[in-house]
């Protein structure tokens, strides 16, 4: 900027002297190009700096160094932005119908920018009326074969494995990034039937195996589920053995439909209308409780191995989650502050205790823009 400013002053001095000093005061012909140049220079500098930072992160990761949790000013600034409104504005922009001739160019540009695989799209590009329709595209038959092994649990989405492991320790926590972890009970909801053991009576058989609410336990079940978290007795509870987790991140260019990981019965659906922070790598390193604060839909139920829950978490650019098993669920709604309750909106699927039966590989939901 200083060099541009020096350029401007020399230009101004030259313009002033060449016009005999009288007309030199007319609009400076170099002002606009100078400002434009300064802006381009600044954007270029920011981009170079961001690429340098990304390269540093990549090198650290290759050396096996994991960057720690480190909140920064940008994360604090993000909290001030109306991210839900921005997300809905983005949704209305991407739902604009494109002229047929323009569609292939837009979708090719998108797939070049975000490494999507256009060959797999089920329809010709001209058939997707808007970017939003393209984003939630289905794939050609046979593009995602389901692993035939009957003793395996499959990935519900395309994406990158961020974390996986067994829940251990005093309370069920999952690392968001090295140096910060979030509570599984907060992620799934206070009324989750995640099988836990109250500290002190961790001997076999006493663990709450996440029973399906029978007549007797139903009242307690409802009492707990209707009670706000603080009503539950504040004892430390730890997960029984054999509770596992897996966190999968979907990039903007990935296929964004969600499938069933096993054959299971979905008993309950919980919708948390939270924030819509971005969920990229930088956000996970700088924003606390990202997965617990963002808008999300949790499906909970049982499979042959016992308890099963799947949380689909939205982000600023992908704020909506559509459930094929419950088409009338609406997410990413304009939430007026007073209605912004922390309690999830919950639905028990009929018939109670049996819920919705899903086969391994069935389509369950889809993320969408806005």
């Amino acid at each position: 900027t200083t060099s541009v400013r020096r350029l401007q002053t020399t230009f101004q001095a030259r313009a002033f002297s060449s016009n005999g000093g009288s007309e030199g005061s007319q609009g400076n012909p170099f002002l606009v190009p100078g400002a434009t140049a300064a802006t381009i220079l600044m954007l270029g500098a920011l981009h170079v700096r961001r690429m340098y930072n990304d390269k540093k992160i990549e090198e650290a990761r290759e050396r096996g160094i994991e960057l720690e949790f480190q909140p920064d000013a940008k994360a604090a600034f993000l909290r001030l932005l109306p991210l839900r409104s921005i997300s809905r504005l983005w949704g209305s922009l991407t739902s604009v119908e494109l002229p047929v001739w323009l569609r292939p160019h837009v979708y090719r540009a998108w797939s070049r920018a975000f490494h999507s695989n256009l060959e797999e799209a089920a329809l010709p590009l001209e058939e997707y009326a808007s970017l939003q329709e393209f984003f939630v595209r289905t794939l050609k038959e046979g593009s995602r074969p389901i692993d035939p092994d009957p003793q395996c649990l499959v990935s519900p989405v395309d994406g990158t494995i961020l974390r996986f492991g067994e829940l251990k320790g005093v309370r069920p926590m999952i690392d968001q990034v090295k140096g910060f972890s979030y509570s599984v009970s907060a992620l799934l909801g206070a009324s989750s039937v995640l099988p836990l053991v109250a500290e002190g009576n961790a001997h076999e058989g006493s663990s709450e195996e996440g029973k399906i609410p029978t007549e007797k336990s139903k009242k307690t079940w409802w009492r707990i589920s209707l009670a706000s978290p603080k009503v539950r007795d504040p004892v430390y509870v730890s997960p029984i053995r054999g509770i596992f987790y897996c966190v999968i991140y979907l990039k903007p260019g990935d296929y964004h439909r969600v499938h069933s990981p096993v054959d299971w019965n979905v008993l309950v659906r919980r919708h948390f209308s939270g924030h819509l922070f971005p969920l990229n790598e930088r956000a996970t390193r700088t924003i606390k409780n990202l997965y617990v604060e963002n808008e999300r839909v949790v499906l909970e139920g049982r499979w042959e191995g016992g308890f099963m829950a799947m949380a689909a978490i939205g982000a600023t650019n992908v704020g909506s989650i559509k459930l094929f098993i419950e088409p009338d669920l609406k997410t990413n709604l304009p939430v007026r502050k007073l209605l912004h309750s922390r309690q999830p909106e919950e639905r028990v699927y009929e018939p109670e205790g049996v819920g919705m039966m899903l086969k391994k590989g069935n389509e369950v939901a889809a993320f969408n823009m806005g």
């Binding site: 692993d147 003793q151 054999g242 596992f244 979907l250 990981p261 997965y291 191995g305 992908v318 993320f367």
Partner: protein, 43 residues
């Protein structure tokens, strides 16, 4: 967007127990696609 799976799977109650044991067959940072195995349980 992100998907988090939390699930219960068989684990042997004691070292010489014959119960099947679940184990992941993925690595962190790995790309995965719908339908590919995340983990298997073996006798």
């Amino acid at each position: 967007s992100t998907v988090v799976l939390v699930f219960q799977a068989q684990v042997p109650k004691s070292p010489n127990d014959k119960d099947p044991e679940f184990s992941f067959c993925v690595k962190r940072g790995e790309r995965i696609r719908v339908g590919e195995a995340l983990g298997r349980w073996r006798e």
